[in-house]
């Protein structure tokens, strides 16, 4: 179909979104998109969700450390409802996720330049002492994710001394 004249095209904003999970969680673009639509549909209803649109344009996720980022396209006048919907993504496929909007840009390129590419750097695995027992942990930067019997424990280097 012939594309719309410029003044009738929708105006967009691009959310730079950062994601965090426990290590060894794997999340794909489709999973994230589904969770986002589900959250928007539940919080804003079908009309609000359709208004905000919320489509994932680019998505990267490092399974080993559980960290990722995405560019999410939303309609210009609906950035705040979209932000609320993003905040309500609490789990993807039952894996808890931490999520935040790093910033909002007017173009995809500006969004990528300003808010993407902040991966936590290399990670490594080693055993750390927590509560008097040695447990396997994934360390990336200052963050230390320890696997305990009851599940994961989020710690930092300060806790290891």
């Amino acid at each position: 179909m012939k594309h719309l004249p410029k003044h009738l095209r929708p105006r967009w904003r691009y959310l730079g979104v950062g994601l965090e999970t426990w290590p060894t969680t794997s999340i794909g673009r489709r999973d994230f998109q589904r969770a986002l639509w589900y959250a928007a549909g539940n919080l804003l209803g079908d009309p609000g969700s359709a208004d905000a649109k919320l489509s994932v344009l680019s998505f990267t996720f490092d399974d080993a450390v559980g960290e990722g980022e995405a560019v999410v396209q939303v309609r210009r006048a609906h950035v705040e409802p979209a932000r609320a919907a993003v905040a309500c993504v609490s789990a993807i496929d039952d894996d808890p996720v931490g999520i935040r909007v790093r910033g909002v840009s007017g173009t995809v390129r500006a969004c990528e330049e300003r808010y993407m590419g902040r991966a936590g750097g290399p990670s490594r695995q080693r055993d750390v002492a927590l509560d008097g027992a040695d447990r396997p942990a994934v360390i990336r930067g200052d963050a230390v994710d320890v696997s305990a019997e009851s599940g994961h424990v989020g710690a930092t280097r300060l806790d290891l001394e």
């Binding site: 919080l43 705040e80 409802p81 609320a84 999520i99 909007v101 424990v153 930092t156």
Partner: protein
């Protein structure tokens, strides 16, 4: 803006991890609700490392008012912020009528409910009621609908009596923390004023500052502090500061 969280061992993340995440999300302070974590941590060391004000606190989770009352007496002198987990009418009632409690947490959880009598009492005694955004962020289906309707009821009564309140996402791990702007957006989506959410997050700070002042050595009672007469700091400190804080939290009563 401050947030209040459960830390390891009650939650899934240590105080340091929560502090580093909260600082990154744009919070200037963090109240710890878990007693053992509050006791074991070094708030200044963690605070200096991550550039955030870490406040010791405890959340009393008792079965009935008499047990809660004992805990209040035991913990009040040791912790800056004292919250009590509501969830039954008897506990809610006990909390809003105790001057020594700062915050009634999750008043609508479980079988808990509030009415005009409780909210008026909370305003009189300077006990802040908590708007718990946790279920809005993390629950689904009927439980979430219930939580939303409870929040609305609480909001309407609190608005009417101008009672003190706090807002929290009641996070129990660093993954459950959300940035202040996100909470504001969620608040707006569910019918709060955007400013109300900000005020509720700032209220934690006011409570922490007021209690630190009261727990400090020089404090005798509101308007009275030990120090050199005519001391600049002393003169400036009392009257004015005290009035501002008491107005903010709706409390004129010493705890």
């Amino acid at each position: 803006m401050y947030e209040a969280v459960q830390a390891y061992p009650a939650g899934d993340s240590t105080v340091a991890r929560l502090a580093s995440t909260a600082a990154r999300l744009g919070y200037s302070g963090l109240v710890i609700r878990t007693r053992s974590a509050s006791r074991a941590m070094e708030p200044t060391a963690i605070g200096d490392e991550y550039g955030i004000d870490v406040v010791t606190g405890v959340e009393i989770d008792a079965d009935d008012p008499s047990a809660a009352s004992g805990s209040v007496g035991n913990f009040r002198p040791d912790f800056t912020v004292l919250t009590l987990r509501g969830g039954s009418n008897a506990l809610n009632r006990f909390a809003v009528e105790s001057d020594r409690i700062d915050v009634l947490s999750k008043p609508m959880a479980g079988r808990g409910d509030v009415n005009h009598v409780l909210v008026k009492a909370a305003a009189d005694h300077g006990v802040a009621l908590e708007f718990d955004l946790g279920p809005v962020l993390r629950a689904t289906g009927g439980r979430r609908v219930q939580a939303l309707s409870d929040l609305r009821k609480l909001r309407e009564i609190v608005d009417h009596y101008d009672a003190p309140y706090v807002v929290s996402a009641t996070a129990a791990s660093h993954l459950e923390l959300r940035a202040p702007r996100e909470l504001r957006a969620v608040g707006e989506a569910i019918g709060f004023d955007a400013d109300a959410i900000d005020d509720g997050l700032r209220a934690w700070k006011r409570i922490a500052e007021r209690n630190r002042h009261r727990l400090s050595e020089s404090f005798v009672e509101p308007g009275v502090r030990r120090g050199r007469y005519g001391d600049d700091a002393g003169r400036e400190g009392d009257g004015r500061e005290g009035d501002g804080r008491e107005g903010d939290t709706g409390s004129g009563v010493d705890r």
